[in-house]
Subunit: 416 residues, 2 copies
Amino acid sequence: MNILVQKYGGSSVGTPERIKAVASRIVESRRSGNSVVAVVSAMGDTTDELIALARQVSSKPPKREMDMLLSTGEQISIALLAMAIHELGEPVISLTGPQVGIITDNAHTRAKILRVEPDRVRSELAKGRIVIVAGFQGLSRDDAEITTLGRGGSDTTAVALAAALGADVCEIYTDVDGVFTADPRVVPTARKLADISYGEMLEMASLGAVVLQPRSVEYASQHGVVIHVRSSFSSNEGTYVRGEKTVERDMVVVGVAHDTNVAKIVVMDVPDRPGVAHRIFSALAAEQVNVDMIVQSTKQENTTDLLFTVTRDDLPRTLEIIDGVAKELGASGVLHTTGLGKVSIVGAGMVSNPGVAARMFEALAQRGINIQVISTSEIKISCLIDLDAVPEAVRAIHEAFNLSVDEGQSQAKVAG
Amino acid sequence: MNILVQKYGGSSVGTPERIKAVASRIVESRRSGNSVVAVVSAMGDTTDELIALARQVSSKPPKREMDMLLSTGEQISIALLAMAIHELGEPVISLTGPQVGIITDNAHTRAKILRVEPDRVRSELAKGRIVIVAGFQGLSRDDAEITTLGRGGSDTTAVALAAALGADVCEIYTDVDGVFTADPRVVPTARKLADISYGEMLEMASLGAVVLQPRSVEYASQHGVVIHVRSSFSSNEGTYVRGEKTVERDMVVVGVAHDTNVAKIVVMDVPDRPGVAHRIFSALAAEQVNVDMIVQSTKQENTTDLLFTVTRDDLPRTLEIIDGVAKELGASGVLHTTGLGKVSIVGAGMVSNPGVAARMFEALAQRGINIQVISTSEIKISCLIDLDAVPEAVRAIHEAFNLSVDEGQSQAKVAG
C-alpha cells in the first residue's frame, strides 16, 4: 500500500472543530487506499502560551526543561486527533517523537534530526492503523532526553518520516494555498506557483516566506522527498517542491520574499587581521545563533567594521555574546539596529540571466528606497532596507519582474 | 544524606505564583540538608480541562489515548517547577513517570504501580540535584506505553518512590492541615488527628474523606512508609499515617467519613444459585468498575435481589455492563438510584468495643434518618442514607462519639 505522510500545522488543529475536520481528511486519505502517517503541531497558540508560563516562573529557563514543557503541546494534539479519528471508526494510534524513533542531537530547543528509526511506525502501519505523530520533538542520541526542533520543526519531522518510510510524497497542510510569488497580504495579485525547486524554496523559506521550515526543505532535498504544500481548508492542488530538473518553467525570478524579523549588528573598528571573523562567528555558532548577512568593509588602515544580521529574537543573546568578544578583540564598540527589513528575489534562472540585480535595484531606486546592505547567492539577491519601506519595496519588485496574475487567470486565494 | 520525598497536589501548584512558593519550600528542605524528591500533580484544573477537550472530539475516547493526553498535565507542572527551582539557584531536574522508572500494569487510565526502578533518581540525587517527578503516570510493563494511575495517583507515585528509595517519611502536601475527625466544612468543630493507622486511613480515604488516595495508603502499609499529610500553606505539623502499633490513643472511633458520590444498583429477581454473584461482579471487575457495598437478600424461594453500590461516575458504564448480564441471567430488571450518600465511622478500637454500631444507629434514629443499607468491616461501619440527610447525619454521629474539639483547644483550621 502506498504510504502518504501528511503534516498539519498548529492553525489546522487550533480548535476541537478543526481537529475533527483534519480527522475527516485523514480518514478520507486512508479510505482512498493509502497508509497514512500524519504529523501534527501543537494546537494554535499552545506553544506561545507555554513559553509565557515559563517566563512567569523563570527569567532564563533551562533549555532541557523548556523541551520538557514544550513537547506537551504536540502530545495533546496527537491524542485528540487520534480520538477524533477513532470516533470516525478507523484504527489509529498516536506516537510521540521519542516513540516514533526521531533521533536528534542534544541541542535542546533547537535539536537537529540525525536519523529516524521507523520500526514502530512500520509495525503500526502493518496492523492497518493510521499513525499520528507528534511533530517538533525527538529523543537525544546521547542521553535519551526529550528534545524539540525549534519553530516549524514539525515540517522536518514529516519530511524525515517520509524519507525513512520511502513515501512518494509528503503533504504539508497549511493555512495558505501553496507557495506564492510574494506574500498575498502584501501583494494582492501574487500568484500561486505550481512548483518550485528545493533550492528556490530554501531561499524563499530562509528569506521570510514562512511556508516551510528551511531545515525541512534541506532534508527533503538531501533525501529526494517531494513536498506538496497545500491548504487544509480546501482540496485545491498546492505547490510541489522538488528537484530542480523536474521543475519546468520560463521564469527567471520565481518570487519576492521579505523578512521583518531582522536585527543588524555592527562591531566597530575590529583589528584587520586573520582569525577575527572566525572568533566572532564561532562564538555565535557555539550558542546556536544563526547569522544571516555578513558584510565586512575596511575603514582605516588597520581596522575594519564587521556588520551582520540575526533574527530580532536572537538579538539579546547575540549582544550578550558579542559584547564580550568585542572587548577581547579590542573593538571600539558594538552598535545594533532593529528598524530594518529584508527584501529578496529568488530564482534558479538568475545565474544565467544577467541584469536581474540591476532590475531589482532600479525598482527600489525609483521609489526612493535606500539600500543599506546587499547580499547575493547564485539564486537570490537580498537587500536590507528601512522596515517601513518593506511593503512598497515588495510590490515594486514584484511588478518589475512581471510576477502578477495573468489576465484572465483567477486570482490566487488565501484562506483565513 | 537523608532522602525526603514530598508530594504537591494540583491546588498547591495551581498558578505560577504557587509554583514559586512550592519551589521555595523545596529549596528550604534541600538547604536543611535533605536529598529531595518532589512528586507533582497537574496544575489546578488542567486534568479536567483536558478531559473536557477529549469529550469535544470523541464520545468514548480510547483509554490509551486518554493517557497520552492526560500525562501532559503533570509534564507541564514538573517542567515549570524545575524552572522555578533553577531560578532560586539549586541544581534540579524534572523527570516524567516513564523516565523515573514507575512500572505499571497495562490498565490505561487506572494503571497500578507494579514496581519502581529508581536508578535514574538515585543517580540524579548523587549529582546533588533536586529531582522533580511527574505524579500520576508510569510506563506499562508489557508494551512500554504511557499509563496514568487514575484520580489521586500522584499520592501513590510519591509513596512508591519513598519505598523504593528507602526514605524515612513521605510528605503529602495538600490544601488542608491534615486528617480530621470529619470534613470541617460539614462539622466546624472537627479536630485534626495527630496520627492515624494505615487501616483507619484506608477506610477514611475509601469512604469519601479524600485526603489520600486509598491505593497510596495500601502501598505505604505494605512497604512500611510513614506518610505525613500536611498543608502546603503553613508549616504546621499535620497528621502522621503509620502502622497501628505505633499509634497511641484512647479513641474508639477516630472519624466520621461521608461520601456523596454513590449510586445504588439493584438487579431484581436473579436466580438464587451458585455462580450468579461471580458472573455479575467479574463482569464489572473486567471493566475495572470498583464495587463498594454489596447486599444480597432472598426474596422468594428461587430468586434473590442483588444490591450493590458504585461511584456515580461509574454508573453509566456499570449499567451498560449489567444490563447485558442481567438479561443473560434471567433477572426481571435492573433499578438504579443516585440520590444517596454514605456516612461511616472508622476506628481500629471498634472491634474490641461492643455497642459502637448501636450508638451510631441511635444517633441517626434520633434525627429520623432512615438507613437503607448497612455494611461493616472490623474497623468501620457504613450506612447508606438519603443524600439530603448526609450533613446532619455526620454532625449527629460526630457528636455522639464526642469527637469535637476539647474546651480550650484551638479550633482546627482549614485553608482555602
